[in-house]
Every structure is written in C-alpha cells, then in structure tokens.
Amino acid sequence: MSASGMLAAVLLGAGESRDRTGIEWALPFPAAQKKAAQERRLLLIKPIAFGTAKDGGW
C-alpha cells in the first residue's frame, strides 16, 4: 500500500463498511490535489449523493 493509501486507511479507520476494493483512495481533497499535481496525474473523483458513514462506508 502506498503512503497515501496508508493515510487513507488511518483516516478511515478499520470500519467494516469502508471501501475495500483495493483502490488506493487519496483523502482528504487537499492531499489528493497535491499528490495529483506533484505526480502529474489526473484526479478521479466520485462524489457521493448520500449514505456515507463515518468509518468510510459508502
């Protein structure tokens, strides 16, 4: 897992409903934007309309 992935895991906690697809989410937004600019990568953003949980579930 990358450093950003580990950061996301820490921020999201170990809740069972958090995302476990294997996608290395970069959270929160400022960290993602900085990473994208530094690494010259595009942001892939999934806005969620409702139903998120504090443990990172959606």
Binding site: A26, K34, L43, L44
Partner: protein
C-alpha cells in the same frame, strides 16, 4: 453498484492506482464523509452538483487545476469504464507519462515486474508476450490469469500446466474453476472451488465461483446460501461486494426502476444502489 462492479474489477483497480489519484466524498455538506474543499472544487466545475437534491453523480476525471476532462456514468459497465479511462489518457497524454519507478521497472525489472506493469496499464497482450518466455511459476500463473480474463480457455490450461508447486495449488484451482464454469461444466467448477480452504487468499473468490456454479446449474437456493455464507463469514473484499450484488439481483422479482427499502433488505451487506445494471456473471456462460 459502482463498488461491486467496476471498482472491484482488478483491471480497473490496477489502472486507477497506476494513473489516477482517486478520491471520494459526500456531496452533502452535512454528510458523514463531507469534504468541503472537494465539494467547492467540484461544484465550481459542475454547478449542477451544488443543488440541494441531485441525481447519482458521475465519476469525474479532472486536472488538479479544476478542468473536467472526462465523466463516467455511475452505472457504466466494467468495459465502458476501462474504455473511458483509456480514452481520457489517450486524449491527454501529458497525464499519462511513466513515473520514475515505472521507468526503472521498464529498464531493469524482471519479466514478471514488467508484465505486471503492462497489465496495470491495460496492455494485457504485451504482458502475455513477456510471460510466454518465462519459466517461473509466478509468471505462468499471471499468464494463466491473463488468459482467463481474455476468455482464452485452451491457453489458460496450457499456462496452468506450467504452474508447479503446492504454494500455487489454490490459485490453479480458482483459475481452472473459472474455465470449467465458462465451459458449462458446473459440477467440475464447483468441486474445484469448494476445494479452496478458508485460509487461502483466494477463498472469497472461490466461494463466489462456487455460488455461480450452483446458480448456473439451476440450484438457486444453494447459490444464495453459498454467497450469503461467505458474506457473513469473511471480511469484505471485491468478491464479497460481487457476491452481495449477485445475491441482491438473484432475489429480485423483476426489473429495478428505483430505490426501495426492499432493495436494501435484499442485500446481505445492507446496501442499496444496485439498480441500473445486472451482474453479468448471472447471465448464462
């Protein structure tokens, strides 16, 4: 559905992790996963997403400066998502340059490392070409996996014949089970999948395949019990999401047109949002 479908597809996960910086957040300013800076960034580019009531938003592909370069429908198929990711990178090659790590792998990495990188980047044929000449069981296993994803079943068996060693026995069983399933040899597929122990890292995938084998053999209740069993007993992963999607649709009585509380009850994980597209694994092989 996005998480159970495209976002649990290994090819898509690999491509995203290699070439994008993925982020999700709750558009609702009061939502649990709210991110006000992300919301402001997105709403500036897509003002319609700032309204009090919005439909299911698409996935947005944006530059760090806020330009929208692509959108992917929330209900897109795995193939459509792969195509969309590839299209946006092809149209904007400046965002598709290899990293220093990737350049090092391309220059001096092992064949397996180079093949894995090509797989990540969507070049499955290039990966297979590299692996054809390799004798290591790990290389043969990845080759078999790529053959399976391509639906080339004879090539799958040829590659599996080169995977030696007890350490890979469960991998071979699972890959072969997918092949038997595609050949409509459901009893053989089920037997292979059921031989994968709980301690195996391929266990949840094996249970999913076992459920599919039962489903396509016409044993609907057995299939549902298999999927529910693995969902209830194992930590969540992409195969658990996929099993949840299959379970939900297998218990539906008709076409889905909108949310309902009944939909939520039908999902063992208690999830909603599977409407819009069938789990393609439930279609006859």
């Amino acid at each position: 559905m996005l998480r159970a479908g495209p976002f649990s597809d290994e090819r898509i996960v690999r491509r995203i992790n290699r070439r994008f910086v993925p982020l999700y957040f709750d558009l609702d300013p009061g939502g649990a996963l709210r991110d006000n800076k992300a919301r402001a960034f997105v709403v500036k580019a897509k003002p319609e997403l700032g309204r009090s009531a919005v439909g299911t938003p698409p996935v947005l592909v944006m530059t760090p400066d806020g330009d929208v370069l692509g959108e992917i429908d929330n209900y897109a198929s795995e193939e459509a998502v792969l195509d969309a990711l590839g299209d946006v990178l092809a149209a904007h090659p400046g965002w598709d340059e290899p990293s220093d790590e990737e350049q090092a792998i391309s220059k001096s990495g092992s064949a397996l490392e180079r093949a894995s990188l090509r797989f990540d980047l969507g070049d499955a044929d290039g990966a297979r070409a590299l692996l054809e000449r390799e004798g290591a069981p790990e290389a043969a296993l990845l080759l078999a996996h790529l053959c399976r994803l391509a639906g080339e079943w004879d090539a799958l068996e040829q590659a599996l014949a080169r995977v030696k060693g007890a350490a890979f026995a469960d991998d071979v069983r699972v890959e072969r089970a997918w092949g038997r399933l595609a050949a409509r040899e459901f009893a053989a597929a089920e037997k292979l999948a059921d031989a994968v122990p709980r301690a195996s890292r391929r266990h949840t995938e094996a249970r999913y395949v076992s459920g599919l084998s039962r489903w396509h053999a016409g044993r609907k209740d057995d299939a549902l019990a298999t999927w529910r069993g693995v969902i209830e007993s194992c930590a969540q992963d992409p195969w658990i999401y996929r099993a949840d999607w299959a379970c939900t649709q297998a218990t539906e009585s008709g076409a889905r047109t909108g949310f309902s509380t009944a939909d939520a009850r039908a999902s063992p994980l208690g999830r909603i949002g599977y409407m819009g597209r069938r789990n393609p694994d439930l279609d006859p092989p």
